[in-house]
């Protein structure tokens, strides 16, 4: 049976991710210690809440280093929403703080255009700019559920695989080697979300 380790750093709801994995016939294992991360075959870093609070929790449990080591060993990692943002080197939410640094670049507020509400909340389409493993089953232009106010700003635009527009065009999927991130919530996005998670379980890497 396929297994995926879901990182539990106390930031709330892991259940939706676990249920979504279960629907794909995948066993979800919760990780709360560096040892749990060390044993993982693939890792999902979910997340809601603020960047600084999330990083503080990862650092205090020692899971930040464990995640870096896992990436180095070639364990596929998928960051979801805040989990994607924490893959970056630094974030501006809740005061500038250090991220995992698995992808070069930072996390910045999504400044809305005139008349656009923030947070960016609801279903929005994702335009695929580069076909990678995790996007295998995903249609170009598919709608996913978003709920966020910050976006990633990778130093290397080459890691961007899909973009979404809300006032600005921002990266909604990034992938580099074994490290991937999605700004939306695949676990809340019906079939297309399931297709994306399925792509991660099957491929788990950029190529």
């Amino acid at each position: 049976m396929t297994e995926a380790t879901v990182v539990d750093y106390g930031a709330g709801n892991l259940k939706s991710v676990e249920i979504a994995l279960g629907r794909l016939g995948c066993r979800a294992i919760r990780a709360a210690t560096p040892g749990d991360i060390g044993r993982a075959r693939r890792i999902i870093l979910p997340g809601v809440g603020s960047f600084s609070a999330g990083m503080t929790a990862l650092v205090s449990s020692g899971m930040d280093d464990a995640l870096r080591e896992a990436a180095e060993r070639g364990t596929p990692i998928l960051g979801i929403c805040l989990g994607m943002q924490m893959l970056m080197e630094r974030g501006a939410e809740g005061g500038c703080s250090k991220g995992l640094g698995l992808l070069a670049g930072g996390v910045v507020p999504l400044i809305p255009g005139r008349g656009l509400a923030m947070p960016h909340m609801g279903w929005n389409s994702v335009s695929i700019t580069r076909r990678v493993g995790i996007l295998d089953g995903v249609r170009d232009g598919a709608c996913f559920y978003f709920a966020h106010s910050y976006v990633v700003e990778p130093s290397d635009p080459g890691v961007v695989c899909a973009v979404t527009e809300h006032g600005w065009i921002f990266p909604s999927v990034v992938s580099s080697g074994v490290v991937s991130g999605v700004q939306f919530h695949p676990e809340k996005s019906r079939f297309d979300g399931a297709a994306l998670l399925g792509g991660f379980l099957a491929k788990g890497r950029e190529r």
Binding site: I19, V48, L116, P119, M121, N124, E165
Partner: protein, 262 residues
């Protein structure tokens, strides 16, 4: 572009959906999970559960409802009704709710918005505002519409957003259940001031009402209860019509394509 959302709202009493949902084979079904799966297939963009239980025991059943629903649908879920403190909020989020609506508790203790958004993030903190027109001006009511607060909805929403509310669920008490259309004056005044997404609620009776709220009213989403539950309007038909009226909605074809998935 961000799609405008259509949200069915289910009233839950002691763990069962009340107010009679009628849909062919689903006649008077009270099982929240069955109804949520139904609305998922219909093309709902999100489902809202409002606990109307009068007792503490009844309230406890709400987390079970959210758990059961989260197990069968892969859609954003919001929960509200009687949320009094951070513990209520936490237990609903842990049960699988993505957002929690806070109403009376926020008026009595606005600090709850700040603590809730600080811990869980603004994206899951919805301020529910029940407003009615009294003597030529709008006023916020709490305790299920029974208690006037003297608060002006726009002033209250601005304050709540500055404290961390990430979305507003705005219900017109005057229009609720009338099917006369959303209160566009109230809605516009709040959407202009809020900056965060506003869900219009109260008064939907026809497709045009949804278009007005989403386009002229500036709402990010429109919510209805009885209109959908009674079978008077199907969400799929409504969204197809809205698309033909140039409203950017998540289209039904996108849903149908995958039929058989669940």
């Amino acid at each position: 572009m961000l799609r405008k959302r259509i949200i069915p709202c289910l009233d839950v009493d002691r763990g069962r959906v009340v107010k009679g949902v009628r849909f062919g084979d689903l006649a008077e079904m009270g099982d929240p999970a069955v109804l949520a799966a139904f609305y998922d297939r219909e093309g709902a963009d999100e489902i809202c559960f409002l606990d109307i239980s009068a007792t503490l025991e009844g309230r406890k059943a709400m987390t079970g409802v959210i758990e059961a629903v989260a197990a069968v649908v892969s859609l954003p879920l919001s929960a509200g009704g009687g949320v009094a403190d951070l513990e209520d909020l936490r237990s609903l989020l842990l049960a699988g709710a993505d957002k929690v609506c806070i109403n009376s508790a926020a008026v009595r203790n606005p600090g709850i918005l700040e603590s809730a958004s600080g811990i869980f993030g603004s994206q899951c903190v919805v301020l529910a505002v029940d407003a009615a027109s009294r003597g030529g001006r709008y006023e916020v009511f709490i305790d299920g519409g029974r208690t006037p607060t003297g608060l002006d909805p726009v002033t209250w929403v601005e304050r709540a957003v500055s404290l961390g509310a990430g979305e507003i669920l705005l219900t017109s008490i005057d229009r609720d259940g009338t099917r006369a259309g959303y209160d566009l004056d109230l809605l516009r005044s709040v959407t202009l001031a809020a900056g965060v997404p506003v869900i219009a609620s109260g008064g939907a009776g026809g497709k045009e009402h949804f278009r007005e709220a989403l386009v002229e009213g500036g709402a990010s989403a429109a919510l209805a209860a009885g209109l959908f539950h009674g079978g008077d309007m199907r969400i799929g038909d409504l969204k197809a019509w809205l698309a033909s009226a140039c409203v950017n909605v998540r289209l039904e074809e996108e849903v149908e394509r995958h039929e058989g998935w669940s």
